[in-house]
């Protein structure tokens, strides 16, 4: 069973996503801010991370860059989410593997997850 870590400061989104992905058979863990993320990764060992750009305490972009420069986490695919349109250039600059703009449909997200888990 593939493990997915969802990082977003909005509890409602986190809950909705968790349910939607679990319905599709994924093992899901969640984190609400950047500080929780590393402990979550250590104990959980996710196969993919869904990361919101705007995080309290620590910028999602910064988190992304840290993950992508750390030896243990750099091979974990990251799909970034944001309520804003962000250009591909910016996404790749932070090292994210994919991006999906909010709001999105679950089916569209699932397609991206499948692509990035391959």
């Amino acid at each position: 069973m593939k493990k997915i870590l969802i990082v977003d400061d909005d509890e409602s989104i986190v809950e909705a996503l968790k349910n939607a992905l679990e319905m599709e058979g994924y093992h899901v863990k969640t984190a609400l801010d950047g500080r929780e993320i590393f402990t979550a990764i250590e104990g959980f060992g996710p196969d993919l991370i869904i990361l919101d750009v705007l995080l309290p305490g620590q910028d999602g972009q910064e988190v992304c860059r840290n993950l992508k420069t750390s030896k243990t986490t750099k091979y974990i695919p990251i799909i970034m989410t944001s309520a804003q349109q962000i250009s591909k250039k910016v996404i790749t600059a932070y090292g994210a593997d994919d991006f999906i703009a909010k709001p999105f449909t679950v089916s569209k997200l699932l397609a991206k997850i499948k692509t990035n888990l391959r």
């Binding site: 909705a16 939607a20 705007l54 349109q85 709001p103 999105f104 679950v106 089916s107």
Partner: protein, 755 residues
Amino acid sequence: MNLRNNKKSLKSLNAKDARDILYKTIAWVINEPFVILNKDLTIELANKAFLKLFKTTKEKTYSQYFYDVIGGQFNTSEIKNFLIKIFHQSFRSQTFKLESHFKQLRGKTMELKGRLISSSQGTQLILIAFGDLTEKKRFTEELKHEKEFSRQVIDKSIDGILAFDLNYRLTLWNPGMERIFGLGEKEVLGKYVYEVVHFSKEKKRDKFFFNPHSGRKVIHRERPYFVAKTGSYGFFEANYSPLKDASGQLIGGLGVIKDITEHKMTEDKRRRTEDALKGSENKYRDLYESSRDGIVRTDIKGRILECNRSYAEMLGYSKKEIKKLTYRILTPLKWHKMEEKIAKNQIIKRGYSDIYEKEYIKKDGTVFPVSLRVWLVKNNQGKPEGIWGIVRDITEHKRIDEALRESEAKFRSVMHSAHDAIISTDSAGKIIFWNKGAEVIFGYNERETFGKTLAFLMPESYRLWHREGLKRVSTTGKDNLFGKTIEMQGLRKDGSEFPLELSLALWKMGEKVFYTGIIRDITERKELERRKDEFISMASHELKTPITSMKIFTEILQKIFEKNKNRQTTRYLSRIDEQIDRLTNLVNDLLDVSRIQSEKLSLRKEWFSLRKLIGETVEIFQATTETHKIILRGQMRERVFSDKGRISQVLVNLLSNAVDYSPKDSKIIVTIKPRKNEAFVSIKDYGPGIAKKHQEKIFDPFYRISETGVKNRPGLGMGLYIAASIIKHHGGELGVKSIEGQGSTFYFMIPINVS
């Protein structure tokens, strides 16, 4: 034969004797002293001049030895040799000369000429004639001095001196001539006079100026000259006289030349001035009458004696009336004291006043300002007799002056009350004007900044840029900054930096160049902009976040109810999903409008096939639209460099409009074609069309057509505004062609092959 015997026989005269006696008489009276010696050197005969010369008598001379008579007076051996020479001459009648110094003859130098002669009896005698060389010597000496003197006079003379021979070839050309004509002696000697200097400006050979053969002196006054070689010309005065040698023979001409060019010039000027003055005397009268200034003459008591028309008109009187008045009557009382002071301190003291201002009273009683100057008039005895005054009405002048002062004051107050900083500098960038606004913005007052260069008003990082800009402007006189508004950082007195907006202008006053900068502190505006950006970003986040979870939850529910085959609930849930999408679109539109209005709309350009994008969009759109048939026409192979998402947004917007505003079952025709360097896309519908009056306005934000009878489509009126802005950002144009009742065609062009 003895001469004495001859003398004795004078009594018995014959013809021969008579002739002898005549000779002797002539010899006796001849001025030149001589003596005739016998062979034994006794004196046979001596004449009166000889006796006089040696201060002796006949008795002491005749038959005496020559040596004894003149003895001791000269060198004996010298005279001996002389006599011997005479005796032993090889040819008869050869004359020998001897120059000797006679001590006892007051040191006279005598020349002795001696020759052998024969007496009528055939005896040989020696004739010695004495010439006084002293005079001659002195003369020669004097001549030498004189020559030297003449040479000096000629050389040192300020005047030019020239001499020429009878052929008019120059034989003398002194330094004075060189000074006048600029030609040296070496250049001209031996040349013809008329080759060297022309005495008129024409080069032709002059009708010659002086003919020495005439034997008269000639004076030429004011002759023009022209030097062919140097091109210089001028005027000279000359005295010519014939030139003779010592023997009185005419050998040429002599001229003394004086350059009077300068003198003549000043003379001419003076004459011209005099002529002009003479002419102007006649004009004085006219000038007096026609002068715009009033001219008035009064007696010593201030009674008006005469005045010109302007003076009378200025005061509103006729000339006749005014002659009965006095200066004081015409002047308001408050000026009397001042005028008395001027009369005492200026007019009486030095004969005239400074220009001063006072007032006059017109015949109708109005008081008006004048400026005037007054001169004292004296009679023949030098006593003050009255005054002359020249008076100017300065009403208009005062009015303009006041208006100017007022407008300047207004201008200044505007400049100073402006909230913007207004700073002017000279061409070197030194501050010459600093308003209150500048004081508020920068914290320096006018005194602190005057004369300083602007650099201290900007952070270090801008100073080089400023200096180079200033240099560029001062050398080229141009700069692309003028007339534009730029944003930069300013530096306050307290060291803080702030954002400012600067508009630069260049202005000229005469030759001088000045710069004026209008500076606005845009800290607040920047802060507002920042807040707006933040708001957009926050609003985007805050609005979309709940939508996102709503949408996910809806999807989860749909899946659950689909599994349970609860169709009605599923249908309702899909309605909710549609409305969530509509809400999302509205939020997106609002954010777009906000971005466009704060000029934050950014494009993510990429190369893509527009034809393919349109094909896909139409296909997807057709899939959701059952009521209309969308027909795609045209081909285009060229790719465009654009924001694919935004262009798609425009297409969707135009297609939904077409669907919404045309009747069911009508066609929508989408056309694409390359045109010159652009892609041309049009979307034609067969709806009711758009009235002309709305056509221009439909691209304005929030514009809604509200007309009775037309079914209103829900919306905020942002779609076309956003679409037009997107196309405009691509360097293209969005437009519409529509005739009411015949449908509308929206079209846009975007450049192709441009990255």
